[in-house]
Symmetry: C2
Subunit: 144 residues, 2 copies
């Protein structure tokens, strides 16, 4: 299990330009390192043997060593969950496809967007580039 | 003007894994270098002073020297057109935002998708990350 978490410099020096205003002096940015916004939600824990990767952009591959870690471990097949579908999930998925990971799977009901319409539109586009999008139950049964 | 064109090795050695079957022996892949599929549509011409960049993945930034070319020229502001909205356009746009280009503009009616719904859903997601999406006319008038 590889956990990808967004954490930013409290002064915002590694934040996207379009979000930098959220990290100006006196503010605690939405996912500033060490702040509540950077904590995992209840129920998610980085356990012994898990790998925690910190990123600062939507795609987990963007300016991180994720690709080299996966290659080193001989991993070609990815199953992706999390939020939100249009941003972090989709950008990670499209980069994974561009990097020739196969199969790339997104668990339909283990990711979400601001509205169901946004979620569905993004799932549709991902299916169109060969991504599998089973529900958690369908995927679990296929592994049984 | 920078023209980004997809061209692939006729043997498919630089094609995404999920499309490799389109480039097997005896087939002419959809955008094989030198084939009709790699030509520009009527009306588009690479003119003197334009820059032609060849890419092999959705994003024009993926494994190309686009970022270094733009940085060298001191270009921070991008206006993006072409097809299709969900794939090449969107992936290029999201990478441009991740790379802190600003402003990033997509001309609403100078890009397109398989259906109007797909186009609109992708424009919606791009607006949500701060991308401007004027029509060609609106943009032209703002430059006048």
């Amino acid at each position: 299990m590889l956990m990808v978490v967004r954490e930013h410099d409290p002064l915002g020096r590694d934040v996207e330009l379009f979000r930098r205003h959220l990290y100006t002096t006196g503010k605690v940015g939405p996912t500033a390192k060490g702040s509540e916004g950077a904590e995992l939600v209840d129920g998610l824990v980085v356990r012994e043997g898990d790998f925690k990767l910190v990123k600062t952009r939507f795609s987990a591959f963007f300016s991180t060593h994720l690709h080299s870690v996966l290659q080193r471990e001989g991993i070609n097949s990815l199953v992706i969950t999390g939020v939100q579908t249009p941003n972090c999930i989709r950008q990670t998925v499209f980069d994974a496809v561009a990097l020739d990971y196969q199969p790339v799977t997104v668990l339909f009901d283990a990711t979400a967007a601001a509205t169901p319409d946004i979620h569905l539109a993004n799932v549709y586009d991902m299916k169109n580039i060969g991504v599998a999008t089973p529900t958690l139950q369908e995927w679990s049964e296929s592994k049984a």
